[in-house]
């Protein structure tokens, strides 16, 4: 494997403009940090549902993570299997390449997947396994693509892993196939992972406006459709900074224009659909999009009315990764919810700029994690609800703070117009549950004791 050139990644990584400082902020030792690059790479590629995903390393990386993400499939489920080489101490000493080769052979023989993704991990990268060579040899011999994903955990953050996975797609997948002849020219959705089925809501909207999806990269994707991604007319980078590099490279290689957008909130959704039609350069399509978005927006306003009444003026603290921090703010604003604190630990400077465009001056930026820091903001700003990922959920429960899970394990789809309505309902539900009243009031015999919160 090529040595990982940190400088190179740092300099061109996540931003659309050349970033000034480090774009993918590095974790500080001694803090409870987020996932590793390996995790990030998996998040990007696991939604390719019909492929096999094999983790080359000790049991840690796969044993602690298989089948625990919320990305849904409408068909094949091979991607949900936890495949691992489970290296032991003697493999570490004598090398695990033989085991890797046998594993690939077994998977190809038994499961006949259209492709196998092989992930390096800290250990296999450190002991210098020649994964690329093993994959190449096996791929040639078996006649299916066997794709090395060189993204061991120690190279950095989850974001970097997303990016490295994008590189693997560019290098080994995109451009290796041709679309079915009847597929109309369309849009690639990059960085949409179909968490809780969000992709399906988006696709439905696109279909009603007559916009075709060329490749899903990678929510509910099939391997084959990604091979022809280079035939798309437009790339949309959906809420994933880290895959911007992929879009840029496709622009220079294949001349496909790209834009960044989000489907959180009605405004963003409308903007994204319009942008697609505009870049497709199709007048008819633009008119259809206008009709659709007008209709959907006005329907949404009707549907939201009862929820907005309850949500108006409520305060939220938002603690989530990267791009979602600004895109979710838009959605919340439309519901009348005021964001009084927002996590920026994984955001690039561009993200922070966009956050600033969307919130008022008195919003607190939470640069780094640690439950105390988030909780302090919730308390000081008298927030009504916390919107964050699963690892912070139980802390919120301890503090009796209403909570909504927004990260990759969430069970509700919040994208598009319907998603916004769902978000509204979910927020109302979480805020209105009688348990908060019960939790916040002292036991009856303690009533006279003052109790705040």
């Amino acid at each position: 494997m090529d040595p990982i050139r940190k400088d190179e990644f740092d300099s061109e990584a996540c931003g659309s403009k050349a970033p000034k400082s480090k774009p993918c902020p590095r974790p500080k030792p001694g803090e409870a940090a987020g996932g590793c690059s390996f995790d990030g790479a998996q998040i990007t590629l696991l939604p390719i549902m019909d492929a096999a995903h094999l983790v080359h390393g000790p049991i840690a990386c796969a044993g602690n993570s298989w089948e625990s993400r919320g990305t849904l499939s409408s068909g094949p489920s091979l991607s949900q299997y936890g495949f691992a080489t489970d290296l032991n101490d003697s493999d570490i000493i004598f090398g695990g390449e033989k085991k890797l080769k046998e594993s690939i052979d077994y998977i190809a023989g038994r499961f006949a997947p259209p492709a196998i993704f092989v992930y390096s991990t800290c250990v296999t990268a450190l002991i210098g396994e020649d994964m690329d060579a093993v994959c190449k040899e096996a791929g040639d011999r078996l006649g299916i693509p066997v794709i090395p994903v060189n993204s061991p955990g120690f190279v950095g953050s989850k974001n970097l892993g997303n990016r490295l996975a994008g590189d693997a797609l560019l290098q080994y997948v995109i451009g290796t196939g041709e679309p079915e002849p009847e597929l109309p020219p369309g849009v690639n959705l990059i960085g949409e992972y179909n968490i809780a089925g969000e992709m399906w809501d988006i696709e439905k909207l696109m279909n009603s406006a007559g916009i075709a999806v060329t490749s899903r990269i990678t929510g509910d994707a099939r391997y084959k459709e990604i091979t022809w991604a280079h035939r798309a007319k437009v790339n949309m980078v959906v809420c994933s900074r880290a895959l911007l590099g992929l879009a840029k490279e496709m622009e220079s290689r294949y001349g496909i224009p790209y834009f960044e957008g989000s489907f959180y909130g009605a405004k963003e959704t409308t903007y994204s659909l319009r942008q697609m039609a505009y870049l497709m350069n199709d007048r008819d399509m633009e008119r259809r999009v206008d009709r659709l978005t007008e209709r959907e927006e006005s329907r949404l306003i009707q549907d939201l009315r009862p929820y907005r009444k309850i949500l108006k003026g409520k305060k939220a603290v938002l603690y989530t990764g990267g791009v979602k921090s600004w895109s979710v703010i838009s959605a919340l604003k439309e519901l009348g919810v005021q964001v009084v604190g927002v996590g920026t630990n994984k955001s690039t400077e561009d993200d922070v700029r966009r956050i600033a465009d969307r919130v008022g001056d008195d919003t607190e930026y939470i640069p780094e994690g640690g439950a105390t820091r988030i909780l302090k903001t919730v308390r000081e700003r008298k927030a009504d609800i916390m919107i964050a990922g699963g690892r912070n959920m139980y802390v919120a429960m301890k503090e009796q703070i209403p909570f909504i899970d927004i990260n990759q394990e969430r069970h509700k789809a919040y994208a598009g117009y319907e998603g916004l309505l769902r978000l509204a309902k979910e927020l109302t539900y979480s805020l209105a549950n009688p348990i908060w009243k019960l939790a916040a009031s002292p036991a009856p015999w303690d009533k006279e004791v003052p109790y705040d919160r």
Binding site: P27, K28, P29, G30, E31, A32, G35, S37, F38, D39, G57, P58, I59, A60, A62, N64, W66, E67, L72, S74, G75, G82, F83, A84, T85, D86, N88, D89, I92, K98, K99, K101, I107, C122, V123, A125, L126, I127, G153, E180, G197, W200, K204, R222, P306, Y307, I310, R391, N392, M393, Y394, V395, M397, K398, E399, Q400, K425, E426, A439, A440
Partner: protein, 519 residues
């Protein structure tokens, strides 16, 4: 109120809506789907003895593993001590997996930090990361002890924890008297139970040696006569409550060595703290003077048991998880033997009540064929419990069963236990296998019930067997860990969980001819 009611369809309804079904069909053009016949054939093949043989000949790849790695266990051990911050020396990702893993099981936060090693550390060693990490984490989380373990990355590059900690002290990053216990936990050796053991032994030996105390077993100095009790890698907070209840009934003094139940069962008071409960650090050296030590997971706690009997020169009674009547009887006998106290009447009465419950339910359990997955000590307990009520263990898979206790391997003990009862005659014990193997077993040789962690649900669904969730991890059911499964009360809980699943199945599959009101 009714206006705010949620009417959000879940996937099951949502995705069976017309538009989703249509989308799914549209998508098949990319899938190059097999014909229905091919699918049926493949499914039939996967149920065949021929495929099972192939599957069991598979050596290289693990499919759907049923074990986690050492550092995960080590974090659990560290959280068993008062105000102790688990610190994982290695790259950051592992730690975030461990935290989510434990949190998803207990539905509680897991405070644990990492030294976030990067490629610089891979080249130059992780010392500066470790030292910075100690400084930052102590400032941020204000622990009274740090419990340090490694990941495979630190192991592969050969970082030396003890000298790094020494350097951190020299640099003044941590003071001389700030305790930092440590152990090595490479993920490529053993599993989560090995890691639990390493960290527990690491903490006990570290705090003991620092105290300068000399073990005087049985002297009860400063503590009165005391028993040490270790539960091991214990996914049930309820088991701590139950063991306390039993020890209190004996009216003996005791120290739990490693008690993470506080951290994983803390109240929602409106204010989160990083640390709850745990064994007091000062109690650890004093534990060297106890009468003896009772270990409830003998395979898990190998190293710790050896340390206690060799260094503290105490009698160690080591059992597997005490499940069922016979398992609990053994527990009470061991306590009685170690303390010289009689078995309390209240427990005898409880025993009688639970035996009564077992007799009530036995007709529904008799002859039920079960498949079991879990850690070695849990499995020994479960096998015993199943046979006690006339259920027949058939397939037993233990991914991390390659362990021994006093030179008896887990597999041998399990087989001997099975051989002791006619209800065990059908059973085969598989060690080192994974859940894809279990799937083959379930499909080729069907059973009535599967008992194991949430990870078994996929194989159980394929084989259309109800899954009774016992062990670790349980991600998809709430609050199971709050109910004890050990002791007589635990036997009752296990019994009701199992028998009511059987009754649910009876009703669900009932044709109507005997849809009885009374069962």
């Amino acid at each position: 109120m009714s206006k705010d009611r949620l009417d959000i369809p879940d996937y099951n309804t949502l995705f069976s809506e017309h538009r989703f079904v249509e989308q799914r069909l549209n998508k098949q053009q990319f899938e190059a789907p097999c014909s229905e016949q091919e699918t049926a054939e493949a499914l039939a093949y996967s149920q065949s003895a021929e495929y099972m043989e192939k599957n069991f000949n598979r050596k290289a790849v693990v499919i759907n593993p049923h074990k986690a790695c050492q550092p995960l266990g080590s974090i659990m051990a560290a959280l068993g001590f008062e105000k102790t911050l688990p610190f994982v020396h290695g790259s950051q990702g592992c730690n975030s997996y461990f935290r989510s893993h434990l949190s998803r099981h207990f539905k509680e936060p897991t405070p644990a930090v990492s030294s976030s090693m990067t490629e610089d550390a891979a080249v130059f060693g992780g010392m500066s990361n470790l030292i910075d990490g100690l400084e930052n984490s102590i400032a941020l989380y204000k622990p009274e002890m740090v419990a340090l373990c490694t990941t495979c990355m630190a192991e592969v590059i050969g970082d030396d924890l003890s000298s790094f900690i020494g350097n951190a002290r020299q640099k003044g990053v941590i003071s001389e008297d700030f305790p930092v216990a440590f152990c090595n936990t490479p993920s490529f050796v053993g599993s989560h139970i090995t890691g639990y053991d390493s960290m527990l032994k690491g903490i006990l030996s570290y705090l003991y040696e620092r105290s300068g105390l000399k073990a005087a077993p049985g002297s009860g100095e400063e503590t009165g006569e005391k028993l040490n009790v270790m539960l091991g890698f214990e996914p049930y907070t309820g088991n701590f409550t139950e063991i306390r209840k039993i020890l209190d009934a004996f009216d003996t003094k005791y120290t739990l060595l490693g008690d993470h139940s506080g951290n994983y069962d803390s109240p929602a008071t409106g204010e989160y703290e990083y640390y709850y409960g745990g064994t007091k650090l000062a109690d650890v050296p004093l534990a060297a003077n106890a009468l003896g030590t009772l270990s409830l997971q003998k395979y898990t706690l190998k190293k710790t048991q050896d340390f206690i009997s060799e260094t503290w020169k105490q009698q160690v009674s080591a059992l597997s998880t005490p499940l069922g009547i016979a398992g609990t009887d053994k527990l009470l006998e061991a306590i009685s033997e170690l303390t010289g106290l009689p078995i309390p009447a209240s427990l005898l009465e409880e025993r009688g009540r639970v035996v009564d419950a077992l007799t009530d339910s036995h007709p529904y359990l008799h002859g039920k064929r079960v498949a079991l997955v879990g850690d070695p000590d849990l499995l020994i307990g479960l096998i015993g419990f199943c046979m006690e009520v006339g259920m027949e263990p058939v397939h037993i898979v233990c991914s991390n069963g390659d362990v021994d206790f006093n030179d008896v391997k887990f597999k041998e003990e399990a087989e001997a236990l099975l051989a002791s009862s006619p209800y065990g005659s059908e059973a085969t014990v598989y060690v080192g296998n994974d859940l894809w193997h279990m799937r083959s077993l379930l499909l080729t040789d069907p059973v009535d019930l599967a008992i194991g962690s949430s990870h078994l649900k996929f194989a159980a669904k394929d084989a259309v067997v109800p899954l009774i969730r016992v062990g670790f991890p349980i991600f998809d059911r709430h609050h199971m860990h709050r109910y004890p499964i050990l002791g007589y009360q635990g036997a009752l809980n296990l019994l009701s969980q199992i028998v009511n699943t059987v009754l649910d199945e009876l009703d669900r599959n009932n044709s109507g001819f005997n849809y009885d009101l009374v069962r």
